[in-house]
Point group: C2
Chain length 405, copies 2
């Protein structure tokens, strides 16, 4: 599949045909030079839409509104602010989410029900609707506005996250692009994480949702920064069909190519989020192979990627296989200790459940880089899964001791 995908340098959510975006500084966040905190992405025509949302029992009303609107299967734009999450504010939250979408719709000349609204930031504080009203007016939409929008949705992120690919079906070239924000509180079930994806492929609504859920399960739901999941996590995907060609559904020849493109962009954005975890200096990739079944492979990979002791050890470039095996052991996956093999950056350091001699200095040196790969072979079946996390640093604690609600 991946051979059919071309990565677009500088690609973003407005790389697909017929999408524009823009952003502004509305005053919600503390002013800093070139700060942006409110933005919109819009399609020239009505799109099919799919979404996945936080599983937290405490949800932002913006999430509830988007769930309702995504259920209609149609959408044309998304308006997003950073700085305030519109959560834990009582009934006013739904009123404000509806108004925020309506303001963007009025500006763009769209039906209000075709606009989705997302927020991220502090909870327990009402959205400053005066600032959002005047801010929405100021937004200018551009064909390459995705870069601005990617910056506007960031909170404690150090870098903005964007990616796009092209792929071909029956001689037609399609583009799929996206942006994301993450940083603290990243975990499975979509923790304070926003991702927005767009494609100019003509994808059937039901298949769009199926393929998004599948991609999210292998990407955003397989990253862990600190195990906390938030009130606002949302992934949205719009498909406007602007590149033409025949409709893509589950039985189309183009279905696999589309899924592969979506998988690739989601995985790329998810890894960028893990790498940019608060205080993180390394991306940790955990591959579990030959598990009894996929569910076991997933929980095992996530358990290792989420272990604070593993994260701390990797921060110190320590090939601490004991902590890795312990995290595997308590994951809930079926494990036969005597069959387990472990590779750190492709060097085998355990076989048959026991440590084997290896050149420790070389492994420690390789672990001092920015990418550390852990591979666990369980020797039980043929299922595999990959999870991503980041190291745990003193900076994480310092940062999160001094940052209030």
């Amino acid at each position: 599949m991946t051979s059919e995908i071309n990565w677009l340098e500088g690609g973003t959510i407005t790389s697909p045909k017929g999408f524009t975006a823009g952003a502004t500084y509305s005053g919600i966040r503390t002013y800093t030079e070139d700060k942006l905190d409110l933005g919109i992405v819009c399609s020239e025509s009505v799109c099919t839409v799919a979404g996945t949302f936080t599983k937290n029992a405490v949800k932002s009303p913006s999430v509830v509104l988007d769930q309702q609107r995504v259920a209609t299967g149609r959408a044309q734009a998304v308006v997003i602010n950073s700085g305030i999450a519109n959560a834990c504010v009582g009934e006013q939250g739904m009123t404000d989410a509806i108004e925020m979408a309506a303001l963007a719709a009025a500006k763009l000349g769209l039906e209000a029900e075709l606009v989705l609204a997302c927020s991220t930031g502090l909870i327990g504080v009402e959205l400053p609707m005066g600032l959002i009203r005047s801010g929405t007016d100021k937004i200018e939409m551009h064909e390459d506005g995705g870069h601005e929008l990617a910056r506007a949705i960031c909170t404690t992120d150090l870098v903005s996250k964007e990616a796009a690919v092209s792929f071909e079906v029956d001689g037609v070239t399609y583009t799929l692009g996206g942006i994301a924000k993450g940083s603290g509180m990243i975990h499975p079930n979509m923790a304070t994480m926003l991702a927005f994806l767009a494609t100019d492929a003509p994808v059937d609504g039901a298949y769009l949702q199926t393929s998004l859920s599948r991609s999210v399960d292998c990407s955003f739901n397989m990253i862990s920064v600190d195990g906390d999941s938030s009130t606002n996590d949302t992934v949205l995907l719009l498909a406007n069909g602007a590149a033409g060609g025949s409709a893509i559904d589950a039985s189309s020849p183009g279905a696999d190519a589309f899924q592969a493109a979506l998988d690739a962009v989601c995985a790329d954005l998810a890894k960028a989020i893990a790498r940019d975890g608060e205080g993180a200096s390394k991306l940790i990739e955990v591959v579990v192979e030959n598990a009894m079944n996929e569910s076991d492979a997933r929980v095992a990979a996530l358990s290792v990627a989420s272990s604070m002791l593993v994260k701390s050890a990797i921060h110190g470039a320590d090939p601490n296989w004991g902590r890795i095996i312990v995290a595997l052991g308590y994951s809930g996956a079926q494990v036969k200790e005597e069959l387990v093999a472990l590779y750190i950056n492709d060097v085998c350091i355990m076989e048959g459940g026991r440590p084997i001699p290896y050149f420790k200095d070389a492994v420690v040196l390789s672990m001092s880089g920015t990418d550390v790969s852990l591979r666990l072979n369980l020797g039980l079946g043929d299922a595999s899964a990959t999870a991503w996390g980041c190291d745990l640093s003193e900076e994480y604690v310092t940062f999160n001791s001094a940052y209030t609600t």
Copy 2:
């Protein structure tokens, strides 16, 4: 119940009648002045015995041996070493566990099958049986040897953990005492945590196991330091009946008094473990009230006590209610946001799911102490649960980046 319990100052595992203990420095650990690393607790007569053990799929053979021997219902002594965990060492581990118990049995003149063996420390390293042989010989048993033994089982613990209570049934005074070790890797399902308990009450074996499981569920299984659980976690309880009186079983008049005494000692040791978490400066107590059912209350309390963002906030004395509500929300417990109330050190800061005005300086000041209490009222039912954790400090990360397997 608690009115019937008398705390014994300086109480330990040898406070009950008929128990002796001793410890020595055998050389397993790096030498430091007054370091101890091998010890034994022994009853003058055969005891009924109960135990709870790690749920980790990767278990020390010592745990497997103890599970087999506890299943017989009878035991008389426990030998314990710190420094090396006897885990991930292949078949040699069982051979060594059996020999370690047999060495203690020979020294004490007991049947080998009546001795249990526990280890804690590095994994992947074989027990140095030569040192254990000569060390076992050197151990001198004392009537107040519990204090020595409590020190000998410590690894990264900063303080040893001991407690004992007395209680009365039908005019007979009984004593129940215990010791524990914890520090890093503490979590529900009994993470690198050892606890040894002894009583001179004549407790029926089946009831001993029932009451131990119940007490452990409300104490050692409700603490969280870093979410990792280990290969070696074990809680053992010996009852020798040396104080006389009628046998205590589930239907005896003394059953409740015994359970209350056991609950009290287990909770006291569990809190001591949480307070002494690696790098910790504060004990966090999380009480969840008025949950729909006990399972919900438990998962909610543990979710909040385990949240890295909550732990970091409390380290900084920050009344960050947002993170507390988010951790409640993703716990899996049924939550109606509009009914939730939150108290920090008994000051109400949220009601009806929304923050309310409070005197922040006073709350911050109270949070700068060594004990922080969080109380969440869910307003849904009448179940409650308490969990304990510690704050997350920069020292935790520093320590765990520089400590190898």
